[in-house]
Amino acid sequence: MRTLLLLILIWAGTDLAKAEQAMVGSKVFTESYVLGEIARRAIENAGVTCGHKQGMGGTIILWEALKQGAITAYPDYTGTIREEILKVKKEVTVEELRTELARQGIGMTHELGFNNTYALVMNRQRAGALGIRKISDLRKHPDLRLGLNHEFLRRKDGWEPLARKYELEMKDVRGIDHMLGYTALANGSIDLKEAYSTDAKIAENNLMVLEDNLNFFPAYKAVFLYRLDADPRVIKALKKMEGTINEELMMKLNAEAERTKDYSLAASLYFGEKAQKIAQGRTKQMAGKIAHWTGRHLLLVGVSLLCAIVVGVPLGIWASKPGIVSQIIISSTGLIQTIPALALLALLIPIPFLGINPITAIVALFLYSLLPIVRNTATGLQDIPVPLRESAAALGLEPGAQLRKVFLPMASRAILAGIKTSAIINVGSATLAALIGAGGLGEPIISGLNLNDHATILEGAIPAAVLALLVQFLFDFLDRFLIPKGLRLERTVR
């Protein structure tokens, strides 16, 4: 256990050692990635080394990361800050927002120059055919199918209040990822979706933006949020960007990012640099990236699994004894398993000294790995026939020696099977760690999902699948050494 802690500390330490002087974060959509990348360059140009944690998650995750100091700055929108972060009324002015943020140690730049408000969009021809121009026209068409992203579904300035204000009674409203929603709209599986008014897809797919005739959507002026204790050069660099990006430019940058699947190219466009893409060395670069992600992935899986074994096996031994404690252990580890991975991550983030970092991901993976190990250990021990249990006791072995010399070896097959199950599930779940910026093979999967780029998704998905298979083989191989020969013979003889 002590070496384990040491390992984590060393790892966290190396993370700090190579950490840049500043760190920009971004949310999981194209515009945020592009703005984040632009900010990173602007900060580096000001002489401060700066990293970029791409696509860390939704608003709350970025906000918590900023407050905890995991990141120095990230792009956000006045409407989001008002409704989601500070949860204040619409009438509150931007200056009042600034004062309130400053109270929490956070600064806000002036507007970057564009308004990226929410909008509802639909296929232009279909809208024409149905005679829909404004949002209030939807009242006559309650059968249209809506595919809205999950954040929009729940936001205070999102779907439900919108439907109330417009008195809409739509029958079919589903949650779908923002980028996947455009594909769904294009192939006709949904009729309507939410959009950001600067989305490149609007022009690209010839979509119609429904007029917000009741003025429901608040203004979403883009700004940067930053820590007030940041390096003054960082703050100056961010402020230099105020008023430099209008709607037209932002839409162009978004389109460039989606066309080239490369945010840094879009950022270069902002700085007026020549967009250069070095074709050579790209595969080599990719192999390096995949190796890096895989390494990080293995570290997440390895550390969390090791902790789960160290804790899970003793818990399983405890749970194998009849009584109330056993019930409590088995049902509480089972309960953890029913919490969706994403929800578990979100629940862990506010806990002190966890926050937005790899340790939170490891804790979540550890909790997920417990159940198969605990349950298999308990069942493996309970399945030992009573005559053999009594024989071990009757020999005069102390309870501890009975466990060590007889019961655990006899249950080794079940225990190892539990560890194997945990390891394989863990390799899959660890892809979610990228949502809170812990890296791993989930990183390309999530950016690919946001770019609607299958090649990028596969860069993460294929190594993850291969890894799961390798883990399976590794454990099959370990079985030969760790399961006593007499038990393996039992299988073949009978």
Partner: protein
């Protein structure tokens, strides 16, 4: 001969209750040193329960079990178990250990010298006529009879003061069973060992038992030699039990 007749194990008005079920009712029993005591009776009469009370796998609901005049208690039970061999039906061998490792498990755990262990194992192999090369086999690779020999070696390894045998031949086919009975008897005679044997077979009881304890529904009906039981039955049940068993053997 006062010394040899002194009881090694004494049960004083021992009762055992499993929930609402009464397994033993106020049993008084003396196990004499150097003799073979056979507990016999129909299944469910409580004979195995007595063995498990003696080696402390069970605690009596009331009454006391004494070993050399001292009560068997949770505090001293581990030490006492090392002075009692225990052999059950089908051997109770641990499947993950070889025959040899099963036999020496406890001696190694107690840190006995290797050469002493080796000598004892060879001695026991000779006694039970178990081939030395068979020690490297795992229980699944052994026949039922061989498993019982290994189990017997395990029970005798630490030179126990008493050997407790619970239906040791119950799982064997009749031919092997009869051969092993003969061998067991000669082993017991060689060792002058105190034996407590549980069986439901009257022929086996008569063959082994110096003293036969006949039980029914948790109490002792009669104890004595075979002649006592045959000629001076205390209850009609004694005659019934003997007759039933004889008619099975000689139809």
């Amino acid at each position: 001969m006062a010394e040899t007749n002194q009881p090694l194990i004494t049960l004083r008005s021992v009762s055992e209750q499993f929930g609402p079920v009464c397994a033993l009712q106020s049993i008084d029993l003396h196990i004499t040193k150097g003799r073979t005591t056979v507990l016999i009776g129909p299944s469910g009469c409580g004979k195995s329960t007595i063995l498990r009370l003696i080696n402390g796998l069970l605690q009596p609901t009331s009454g006391t079990v004494e070993f050399e005049g001292k009560p068997v208690l949770p505090a001293n039970v581990i030490e006492l178990r090392r002075r009692m061999g225990y052999v059950i039906q089908d051997g109770g061998l641990f499947p993950h250990l070889t025959a040899g490792d099963n036999v020496v498990l406890m001696a190694r755990h107690l840190g006995r010298p290797t050469d002493e262990i080796q000598r004892r194992v060879e001695e026991l192999c000779e006694l039970t006529r178990f081939p030395l090369e068979g020690l490297n086999r795992y229980p699944v690779e052994l026949s039922g009879g061989q498993r019982q020999r290994v189990s017997l070696m395990r029970g005798l390894m630490l030179k126990p003061d008493v050997l407790l045998l619970d239906e040791p031949l119950g799982a064997l086919d009749p031919m092997v069973r009869s051969a092993l009975q003969t061998e067991l008897k000669s082993i017991f005679q060689q060792l002058k060992q105190t034996i407590v044997l549980v069986t439901h077979d009257m022929g086996e009881a008569a063959y082994f038992g110096d003293t036969i304890v006949l039980m029914k529904q948790g109490r002792i009906v009669q104890q004595g030699s075979l002649a006592d039981l045959r000629e001076r039955p205390t209850e009609p049940f004694v005659r019934e039990f003997l007759n039933a068993q004889r008619s099975l053997a000689f139809p």
